[in-house]
Symmetry: C5
Subunit: 350 residues, 5 copies
């Protein structure tokens, strides 16, 4: 990006992702009603252009590959999408949102990805268009969470088959949310593991990891809060293609986003608390180390001084010639050491 | 959970709790009016199916055992509950909420459980359905707080007997809230005990415990704030089965939730402050330890050097042959030590 | 409390305070208009029952002693108070609030008490009922702030005498607020004293006291914020017994609560800042202590080594036989010590 | 104050300031229209009483000296001010606010005063009354910021002369706000100076000063936030004596208060950050000090031990009689010291 | 500024920037419709005065040089701008805002400037006026971001050419926002670099830089939050010269500002976290340093004492004459050292 960004007019589609080896095509074109389900896969954009849509079916079109922006623009033209929508479809950095373009509804959600080894959290951009009986999902590559949708759709008795495109849209958002739960469970295990370690074997890599995870969660937060607003919007606003009976399902999804946000905030609180525990544990260790050194030092330093004193080579040092001089010194060792030990005991140093 | 979660359609009931040895049954079926009270216990779902409800009574049905989701679904069918309600009944992780399904009101509250030894806080999932003159409570196992309700109901002069199902619903929520007070009193004692310890005998286990309790309170918070919204909702919204004279009682319950939230926030503030006091106490101790070592070290190090100097075996060291050399050294010990002690006194080191 | 709490029906009055030696009685029954003022003291509840109220007077009834809940219930019956109001009157833990019961207004405020020695802050529960031309105050014992009201009432030219019961209610709340100012002035002096000490003679008891005062202020906060809402409510809502000309006085009282809240928040901010100053001062001292030890140690340790070296008893140590060997060592002392002192000076250690 | 405060009825004027040597008088009585300007100074309250006001002029009356509350009450009677307004005029602790008394508008603002040496921030209480074509300002003593207003008024072509009393009121508030800018510039310089010092020559007085300035800014905050609300109120509410064309000027003043609030919050953020930098700099220094001591100590302690060992006077110590014993020890010194230096280098201690 | 500021009437234009060598002139006067584009550069204010505007074109006038306030006032007169608008045009410290003056819309935005070396962030003041078909931008000097606008305008097929002045206004704001993205990318790299350094090679300059960048971001925040409000305002309010079809573009710009705010808050969170990591890393190092010193010290101090003891010159010290005395001492060295090493190992010190 950089200078070029400033030269690009605001509604020019620019692909900002990194999956460039998948040409844009129609991975799936599915249409169904209660009794029938027809499934076509891997159509070209040209084939889509020639396809006829009928009122009696609900259509799910899954577009895969966003790097070929010209193809995406062509698809945009087929469904009469606004240039800004096409731009948002190919901009994988676009935040989750909902936009009403009178004759269609545009929704962006993010699938959550987590690598437990590196603690790296990523997001997969999933724009969606709901236009009457047609529901279109976009993604850089075919994502596994759509498999689950597909399986349910194939059962002719499933509620999905009985209902319209708005319920299909809800179901797509719902699997995305369920993925958050799945991953938050994993993150929860990581956090609990960190809590165990901070108490049992704290080391510096822990601080790094806590910092890293906190940092990653900042970005999760940026994607979850808007998700909650999107669903709230669907419940409260009166969008043309969202029908009343489906709203109770979105209300359920709303509950889930609240639960996810609560969990996220708990993670943040716990991780912040961990740093405090870690620091207090460091301070504690330091105290113990210094206490040990101080006790040893404080006891032996005076004794060594006494020994040093009688190691001097002055010709006239009467004590050296006393018969019990050495034994007197040995006794003074014991007296001083005992005195200091009693002193430390009284101060509860050990 | 995990992968499977993503495969489950959104309204499939999945039991998420751990009490699996109690089959789902009707622990209690109670109906009453001002003059009569009939109580049946331990009915099967089939018996419930055949039961006839009349207008002249208020019914309280307490369902126990949520792991047998099919039975819960059957009960759902008897009372015409939405699939999503049934799902929320058996999902013990569902957060507190209120949902209006036109012909019934669905409320989820959480009974608070606290183990003072381990500081572990738990929640018991208590979904409730209020449908005209029928009030249904669900729980994984029979909970003691319902005993109190039962006792009051059995007194024919109690207000409970004079009033309708909405007052019964209020009373059920009220005992749940009273349980919060009872447990918060215990937590308050734990917190006060921690405050005493941080000042008198701070050790590292205290930090662990403070961290742990703070962490547990995060989860309490997640369950109390929605409770407040639920009750506020009942007061403000115009639900079909909540009558005006009962609202003043809910207003009283609202007061209680505010008081509980206030107390919770106080706990959090106090616990956060405790960590600061602990750290400052550690720093203080460190200062004292180092001061002791430094005073001893700083006084004896120069003396030991002097002694060492005259312990050298050079042939030509005139001082060694001075008659009062040794006494001069002894005097230099006193002078140096006194000087340093005055120096430390002036700096207010002791 | 405990288990019993759960067994008590929600509208059963339970006295939660500690003043049990004062039987419930009518400490004061005062009625007045612009020209007349009649004052009766120490009536029994039975005498109150027989008392006739007239339209032409404003009545102030001050009930003292809340532990005899049956008596309070009887009084409740005389004035037709809701059972929940009676419960809130005897529950001294009830938070400040305002409740409109159509035919009367129920207000709870808290008198602030402060013991400067122990820094302990307490609250005296003062419920109030405003019912047409009758204004009733309750308290566990006769509180001095009512003396001031009484004195003003006795002056026949005072505004209090010219106005109605709503102005009397305002005046009662106003003296409660004035008490907050008085005590906040004392707390302000304590805080300033703490600030002086943290800079001049910080010790660990200071941390304890700061923590304790912060903790007490948390509870003050819980009682002041609702007070502000109460008064705002009186100004904004349209309560039957609060007349328009009195609202400008409540607007003045509102100003005062804002001022009190501002002051409270300042105290909290300053106390939090104090801990930081204290910790930085501890760190500073530690640095100074360690610097002193390090300078002494670093200078003498090499010198002592040199001395030790020439204290060895090897037969063949040529230096020992050099004529100026000892003087060479003395010079090396000076050189090394000077070098280290210059090194420390350059690093600005002293 | 204290006990007495509680005895004072709510609308009794009590002067709470410290300027008691200025009797209350009319410092300035100015009236003007586009063509004429008449200026009278130092009138007594009696002279004001006899003064006749006309419709064709705009009047500015500046009252100086608030300690003579009786005189202020008399002035209040002349302009029919509410007793509460008079009380607020003489209470210099009254916070900034706006109050609409139907036939006049009462505004309180605070002039900011800053002493750069002591970092002390003070406020000068400036109540204002706007009543039709009369604008009255009060202050404990004549403040310089009114000189600027006066100068502008004296220019017959100034906008002030063309417009009405509401513009005069705006102008008075505007000079107060401009004073905030002027002083915030000075505070900004102080803050920048503190930032320089924390990096270059941090010492403990810096912490004191940062704490003190933060503390003073808390009080500034208490006076600025209400100022913003006052101006917003003037723009949004429909006050009788504020005409539409003047509102655009208040909108400009609103911008300025936002800018001032932004700046204040920046100061607070920066000062908070400074403490962190200071503490991390202390920790850094401590590390360096301890590293130096540790390196010296760790290197010489073993060497000194070796020297000590061969300083023992055992009769049978074979090494002492080896010809190259001493040289072996010297070599061991070099080997041990080099080894430790390499060890420290590897650990990157220097 | 200073005293003078207080003397300046509120609507007097005062140039507050530092670019004084560019006289005020019309850098660009461009007018176009779908088919035509006429571009004039470097006109004087006098030439502008004589210029005739027509309905059939959209005009973009770019004024450069704000220090000559009289010229700016003249331009203000040509377009009938309010005096307050002219003042805000030349006051480069004016915060971002939108103001509706019935016959024109006044917008202030800030171009972001960042110097990666010094981490210094600056803002370029860009006031804009939208008056029917005329769009005027002001700036202290010609800014490069307008070049991009110009290039797009010159393409006759660009959307800019097809649309009206409101779209031109949007495009100008949009390039300003794109600049934020560009610079935030650079800041993001700086922040990531800081994160690397805190883990790999933390030093004190890092703290300075983190503090400095945090401080600079405070000021960025002050300019971005109002930007978001401006755009929200344009979408929500019904401004005369913003037409409905352009609002969808502003909605897109709104998305961008949210994204920028999110990113800014992430930077702040990460930088705050960095300080914690840095401090914990310092504490860790300190612990390691002290552990090394303590281990060495604690092992050798007792040994050195033993050596010192047998270095005393008492005549009667039986051990000295034992044949294996020296070897006994050597063995005691090994025993003591091993014992201490085992002790440390057990405590997991190394
Ligand atoms: Mg964040
Ligand atoms: Mg976001
Ligand atoms: Mg759910
Ligand atoms: Mg939840
Ligand atoms: Mg939250
Ligand atoms: Mg903390
Ligand atoms: Mg939390
Ligand atoms: Mg929750
Ligand atoms: Mg209550
Ligand atoms: Mg409370
Ligand atoms: Mg809170
Ligand atoms: Mg704190
Ligand atoms: Mg609090
Ligand atoms: Mg409260
Ligand atoms: Mg007042
Ligand atoms: Mg105030
Ligand atoms: Mg606050
Ligand atoms: Mg702090
Ligand atoms: Mg503050
Ligand atoms: Mg205030
Ligand atoms: Mg301005
Ligand atoms: Mg600003
Ligand atoms: Mg703020
Ligand atoms: Mg901070
Ligand atoms: Mg800020
Ligand atoms: Mg600003
Ligand atoms: Mg976008
Ligand atoms: Mg974003
Ligand atoms: Mg945000
Ligand atoms: Mg923030
Ligand atoms: Mg922090």
């Amino acid at each position: 990006m950089g200078k070029e960004l400033l030269e690009i007019p605001p509604d020019t589609p620019v692909y900002t992702g990194s999956v460039t080896d998948i040409g844009c095509h129609i991975k799936l074109l599915l249409y169904y009603n209660g009794s029938e389900l027809i499934k076509k896969t891997d159509l070209t954009v040209e084939q889509l252009k020639d396809f006829k849509f009928h009122k009696g079916y609900t259509y799910w079109i899954s577009i895969v590959g966003l790097n070929d922006t010209e193809k995406v623009q062509e698809i945009g033209k087929i469904f009469e999408l606004h240039d800004l929508t096409v731009e948002d479809i190919v901009n994988v950095h676009e935040r989750p949102k909902i936009e009403d373009f009178d004759d269609y509804l545009f929704v962006v959600v993010k699938e959550l990805l987590f690598d437990r080894e590196s603690l790296k959290i990523d997001f997969r951009h999933i724009p969606m268009v709901l236009k009457d009986n047609i529901f279109i999902t976009f993604s850089e590559e075919w994502t596994g969470i759509f498999d689950f949708l597909l399986k349910r759709l194939e059962k002719s008795k499933s509620r999905l088959r009985q209902r319209k495109s708005d319920y299909l849209c809800f179901s797509a958002i719902d699997v995305v949310i369920d993925k958050y739960f799945k991953i938050f469970e994993e993150i929860g295990e990581v956090v609990e593991d960190m809590e165990d370690r901070v108490l049992k074997e704290p080391d510096e890599t822990l601080v790094e990891q806590v910092h890293y995870l906190k940092r990653e969660l900042i970005f999760v937060r940026r994607n979850i809060w808007p998700l909650r607003e999107i669903i709230n919007d669907i419940i409260k606003a009166d969008y043309t293609f969202i029908y009343e009976p489906t709203k109770v399902y979105f209300r359920d999804a709303y509950d889930h986003t609240i639960q996810i946000i609560d969990t996220l905030e708990s993670f943040r609180d716990i991780l912040s608390g961990l740093l405090d525990v870690y620091l207090s544990s460091l301070s504690n260790k330091m105290n113990e180390i210094m206490k040990t050194l101080s006790i040893i030092g404080t006891i032996f330093i005076p004794l060594t001084f006494i020994a040093g004193n009688y190691g001097m080579n002055f010709r006239y040092m009467p004590e050296l010639y006393w018969h019990y001089g050495y034994f007197a010194v040995l006794i003074s060792y014991v007296v001083i050491a005992s005195g200091l030990i009693i002193f430390f005991k009284k101060r509860k140093w050990f």
